[in-house]
Amino acid sequence: MMTAEKQEILTQLRQQISAAQGFKPTPIALGEGFGLGPIEACFPNKVFPTGTIHEFIAEHPEDAAASEGFIAGLLAKLMENGNSCLWISRNRKLFPPSLEAFGVDPQQIIFLDLYYTKEILWVMEEALKCEGLACVIAELQDIDFAQSRRLQLATEKSHVTGILLRKEPKRKLSATACTARWQITPQPTEISDGIPGVGNPRWEVNLLKVKNGEGGKFYIEWAEDRFTQFEISDTDVQPHTTVLTERGLTA
């Protein structure tokens, strides 16, 4: 009986701590969630956290494209109620019409093409304070802890989701105040019955770090306008990038 009570107290304390860290349960009812299945189980309360900063690492242009595809899948859910979003970048290569395939209306996205990292961060912080937005995405190379902390604080007030897409970062595992760190790499597609052609986009989703949660490696496919999980059957598939682990930081 004592243990049950203690358990109760512990869960409450955990919730208080995560609330203090800006990890509130999402205020918007998202229905069935993002459909990310086991990935969502990695986060506290088993809910994909919106209204916080997510960090995506893309070492190659191919990874960047995969990350953008995955982000677009998330946007489809975040922008469901007609909200718009801001996409801030330097030397943007994203081709807006492709977002349509992920259920996002490219017309609803406002693109900002800037040159200086300082400007990108300023614009992102300003935008995160604006409650009329569903999401703010910024492409940049590196960000230090103080800068990411500022963004996290801005997002905690307004509950706008922020996404940092770090393309070809110089310091991959630098500490940031982000809630989660992702790495998305493309995976070979599959078409049944041996028909020639290229199948639905498939990714290896590597959740490197989760605040108050545990990361993991997942295989996700975008099919019929939603995320589905798939199993890797063959052992000959070699991930082309060395997978980063949080342990790599200390080693």
């Binding site: 953008e68 677009a72 019409p97 395939a101 493309p186 082309h240």
Partner: protein, 498 residues
Amino acid sequence: MSRYLAIYFTNLLTDYLAIKKPELKDKVYVFTMSQSNRIMVTASSREAEKHGIFANTVLADAKALVPDILAFDDKPDFNKKLLVRIAKWAIRYSPIVSLDLPDGIILDSSGCSHLLGGEEKYLETILSKLKESGYNCCGSISDTIGTSWAIARLGRKSPIIQPGQQYNALLNLPPMALRLEQHNIQRLHKLGFDKIGKFIQLPASMLRRRFGQELLLRLGQALGTEEETITPIIVKAPFEERLFCLEPISTKTGIEIAIEKLLDTLCERLAKEGLGIRSAELKGYRLDGRITETKIGTNQPTHQVPHLAKLFELKIDQIEPDLGIELFILTATKTEPVHITQEKLWSGKPGLADQNLAQLLDRLAIKVGPQAIRRYIPQAHYWPERSLRPAVSLEEKTEIKWQKSNPRPMEMLHKPASIQVTAPIPDYPPMNFRYKDELHLVRKADGPERIEREWWLEPGEHRDYYILEDDKGRRYWVFRSGHYHEEHSAWFLHGFFA
């Protein structure tokens, strides 16, 4: 009742030169221009005038009087340029300022003089400022332009003519005070009318018969019985607010307060008429005569003071008050009817129409420039680069749909990158390709999707696009430019799929 201030510059051009070149002060120098094979004096300095050298003297005669006279070239319309500059400076004292060629300016001082503590102080301030900067000038205030003009040039007594006293003021002045044609002045003198008082009482019909309509018109204008208007150099905008500061303002807080005050009054007026600002301009008239200009623009017409103040606030750093700003003028350069929105009830995130978003974009546009902010809408073209175009406004919608039949890459290169390809059979996807020194073995492929070049827009080959997936699962968009050719088929990589 109107009051007009006329300012007369006795030596406009030569004073200007003395300001530019202080060593010329107290020297005998003139401006000259060649007229029908003679070099004529067009303007002379004060010292030169003492020696009897005036405009329209021949330079050779002037040299006979003063052998070491200095002569400078005059340019046509140079005096006009100077007067425009002075008139713009004088806008801080009255919104309506006009040129009075060739040697003066006229200010509509109605309702302005009390700001500086009465007409005497008003006139004194303006004249002493001009004299400080080096211009010799006289001025006069009266009910009519004609009388002010006359008193400024020929008046001997008080420069301020009380309302209704034009008649008495004019009596002792010579006829040239009426701005008449030269031949009329000569005729008046010939007949012994050397003072206006001598003929002002004569019947109008007699004066008209002898001197024409001109004399009566000018007389009427001076007395105030005939209407006379002036053309302001800068026409006052319908939505404009002025703030005259008793003390020159040079601090950031001071400027902020000034902006807020101006916005308060301007926005109240706009709100009454249901209009909102799309673009506005703030001018600061500095103590040293320069003018600072700050412009802002908005995405949606608005008359919300806090938002507009915020937009100006982002630009305050660019205002250089220097010694201080005397006068602020805020002009709404473009206004549009405001969309009336219900507050609160509908503030629940309506996407692009959201007011918060529009305000955010206004702020961002001020900081990073409007050209950096874009939204895309589809265009009816199959050619990938032309399949979309930037939207003109936040509201713009189009009937055209994004084309969905063929997948498009997540990332597209601005310029297709050349790749080396092994493609054994015509119109089959490549077996492998080399991009940036890395060999990619193609495992899966889709295509071709042929996209014809729009020949009416630009010449060139069509493109055959393939989606390729390599041995590591990475997906690419490549194309062959033109038809298959064994040796010289040109292949390019154009994008990356998710």
